[in-house]
Subunit: 89 residues, 4 copies
Amino acid sequence: MKNADTLKRLKIVEGHMKGIVRMVEEDAYCIDVIRQIHAVESALHKVSTQILDNHLNSCVITAVQGENLADRQRVLNEVLEVFETSSRV
Amino acid sequence: MKNADTLKRLKIVEGHMKGIVRMVEEDAYCIDVIRQIHAVESALHKVSTQILDNHLNSCVITAVQGENLADRQRVLNEVLEVFETSSRV
Amino acid sequence: MKNADTLKRLKIVEGHMKGIVRMVEEDAYCIDVIRQIHAVESALHKVSTQILDNHLNSCVITAVQGENLADRQRVLNEVLEVFETSSRV
Amino acid sequence: MKNADTLKRLKIVEGHMKGIVRMVEEDAYCIDVIRQIHAVESALHKVSTQILDNHLNSCVITAVQGENLADRQRVLNEVLEVFETSSRV
């Protein structure tokens, strides 16, 4: 169900991108294009947050409660990695 | 010519977004989806930078050298605005 | 031990901030000040990542393995929150 | 006058950093430290925006209206550079 919402949001972003391509084809004002690109980036960060929410409440819990130490370490490192790169766009 | 390159990059991002939608439809690993979303955000920031580059070297020069003070102020405020929002995604 | 390193990095940032204050007092070139501010932001994100790393490998593991569901939820929500706000500076 | 405000804000950030160092020395909760670091990053981006505002309305106007093409190009490239790096913290 959550996945369905993620999919819906991503398809909206895809549609938004198509609109931005059209804006550039029709020679829209530069700043307006940048504003729309910014709106897409913002929407993408919201989707990422939603996906991470699902991930924390499923895979991360399972791995941290599991017996496999390597698995647990990998899962925690991945969470750290997405945090680290989140501000380097 | 520059515009053609911007358009090409935006179409690549659009294709990338289609790929991410497919990943979620095929139930790809959460972290892999977040990584791809991050790659799209990164590509979008590069396109924004390219568009701003064109803008600075055309509209901004024209407005700053022009007689219309309101126009000059508007153009400089827009540049400030895209800087300000650039880090709030 | 990890904490000692975090503390050391934060003190370096504090010293860096002092240097930026001095730059502005001495009327340094705007762009140079912005570059130094950016360097501080970058250093701060690295410290945040280090603190989160420690947090994931201590409190998060303890809470997720613990019996207290409210605690586990709170800890996971906090991780999500720092991810969400990380790109909104 | 604007400079006085920039200086004041930067000194507030410096004080804030001192407070964060103290928090870590007193072993504050990790997430609370990250939240305060985030507040500092946010304040720093506001100061950067203010400095860029001054810069656009002084040096940039002067250079763009001036005769020296190399100077104009340098100034516009610097504005582009601060935009480009603004989202890579």
